[in-house]
């Protein structure tokens, strides 16, 4: 019951929206599409849903070729970022609408709608109209429609983006359970790395209409295959800078360098790019092996439990994200400490090397 994309591409006029993409999406856990706005997530979903034609390649559902098939015949559901419900139908009729089109018996429809409404706590609202509901309830109605339909594939295109953060967290926690055990392929598009990590499952990183990496979410977070993938899957953005390897040392310039251990020690001498997540650069030294870097503080942000500082060292700006409250002053020169064991190294072409 998998959804398979075989070398599909999509073009609109002269513009290529999806570059050759091959993916196998399986049911049972979330398949997250993670990428910035404009990276091709919605394009890919529309192609999979059959709303847009692919220029080349094949799409298989359950081993069956559905490339030229209409969206209706594919038995899919799509939940949008906007709350899309039929404005003059009650919540019940909204959830029931695809079942009625499919010509199901009345009692069957009643049962399925009520079951879906129970899961999404919509029972008391079944006879209201969409405009009488809150944003969260409207989106729940759209989700209930997807569940009642028992689709083979469910596409969720940034479904939480227009909800306020409390509702968002609540619904996000429920989402994996909602679809667990239903046997549908669930595809979830988001632009937030944190959301991908919370939902788990598998993640496909997207950039410029291309899937740069696909695999179990935690694994690809820990092991980016390219500098691009590392950048896509990091929030706040991952730090990166050119470095030079000489003997058993990596030199960053400005007098900053460190001894290499592990796989990185075996690299050939030459130019590389180092990347390190902001949470591994701290204003306090917790380990003798951490490398001091001195920079000028430029921007600081305080959230309740974390402190962020952007500091400039030579031509590069670095970001440090540390737990606790740290009293930074803008303009001051201060030391930060970087954990060299957490560095990723990439070849000049962007490929991961160590």
């Amino acid at each position: 019951m998998a959804l398979e994309l075989q070398a599909i591409t999509k073009r609109v006029g002269q513009v290529t929206h999806i570059k050759e993409t091959t993916l196998v999406l399986e049911p049972g856990r979330f398949n997250v599409l993670l990428g910035e706005t404009g990276s091709g997530k919605t394009s890919l979903i529309k192609a999979m849903a059959g709303l847009d034609r692919v220029a080349s390649g094949r799409i298989l559902m359950d081993g069956k070729d559905v490339t030229g098939m209409s969206p209706q015949k594919r038995n899919i559901s799509l939940v949008h970022q906007f709350f899309v419900n039929y404005p003059h139908m009650t919540v019940f009729d909204n959830i029931a609408s695809p079942l009625r089109v499919a010509g199901l018996a009345k009692s069957e429809i009643q049962g399925r709608v009520e079951a879906a409404a129970d899961v999404l706590q919509l029972r008391p609202m079944l006879h209201r109209r969409p405009h009488e509901l809150s944003g969260g309830q409207q989106q729940r109605t759209a989700l209930a429609r997807a569940i009642a339909k028992e689709s083979t594939a469910v596409f969720l295109d940034e479904p939480l983006a227009n909800l306020d953060y409390k509702l968002r967290e609540e619904l996000r926690d429920q989402l994996p359970d909602l679809f667990a055990g239903r046997g549908a392929v669930v595809v979830y598009a988001t632009s937030e790395p944190a959301e991908a990590l919370m939902l788990g499952g598998r993640t496909a990183l997207m950039q410029d209409g291309r899937v740069t990496q696909f695999g179990p979410t935690a694994e690809i977070f820990r092991n980016p295959n390219t500098l691009t993938s590392a950048k896509v899957f990091s929030d706040p953005p991952i730090n990166s800078a050119p470095v030079t390897k000489k003997g058993d040392r990596m030199e960053l310039g400005h007098g900053v360098g460190w001894a290499l251990t592990g796989a990185a020690a075996g690299l050939k001498d030459g130019a590389y790019t180092v990347a390190i997540r902001p949470n591994y650069i701290s204003p306090v030294r917790t380990d003798r092996a951490h490398v001091p870097m001195t920079g000028t503080v430029q921007i600081t942000e305080l959230s309740g439990s974390e402190s962020t500082a952007h500091f400039r060292m030579g031509a590069e700006t670095w970001v440090s994200l540390a737990p606790g409250v740290h009293p930074y002053r803008v303009g001051e020169d201060r030391e930060f400490f970087m954990d060299p064991a957490q560095c990723f190294y990439f070849a000049p072409d962007g490929a991961f090397v160590a």
Partner: protein, 287 residues
Amino acid sequence: MRKVNQKGWFFVLPVLILVAFNALVPMMTVVNYSVQETFGDNVFFWQGLDWFQQILRSERFHAALGRQFLFTAMILAIEVPLGVIIALSMPRKGFWVPVCLVTMALPMLIPWNVVGAMWNIFTLPDIGLLGYLMNHTLGIDYNMTQDPVAAWITVIVMDVWHWTSLVVLLCYAGLVSIPDAYYQAAKIDGASNWSVFRYIQLPKMKQVLTIAVLLRFMDSFNIYTEPFVLTGGGPGNSTTLLSIDLVKIALGQFDLGPAAAMSLIYFAITLFVSWLFYTLMTRNDAK
């Protein structure tokens, strides 16, 4: 006692003055005429509600009112569905959008008396393009200056030509504001074209459609210039609509009292029917 801030009155004063001069004062003049009789020289005699009674009992008024309702009903029955259909078949994007919009807007840009004159010349049996074509080429007897049915058809077609665009443009604005997501949802559900219209487009167009119906009702109910220029109310009285009759009484016969009473009755009917339409079309929204 709590002190009430009376400054608010000061802020509504400009609107009050404006409304007074463009609505209240002229209207009160009419009210003034409607209860008095005058023989000129600015001498007036109190008449009470006599003029109102006279108008309400007059067969001439009943006939004109009947024609007016028939005319407006036909206008709404043709222009609203036709406008919706044209709006639905217009392209949503691409090169043809501005072409369609400008074409649609053109009739509305022509001054009303020019529209009347154009259609008059266009349909004259011997020299008009349409009139000549019908009578001499197609052999259909068509003479709107002599045949009441032909006159009615001509007046209706002229108004449809002139004003359907308004419905089209309003509905089109409503249609293009529907996000693509709705159409995608319908496609995925496998909804038919009729369902898309009934459950997505019509509900989303409802507000602009309410405005379109109201505007077309008021404009067609108060129509004067175009039919006056086209037929002058004839042949006979067959196309004498309310406003044409009103002008005949007021300026033709110079019966200011009855004309003023008729104006007020006319205004009351327009107001009442507009209120009725609005209430009926929006009654589900408030709940």
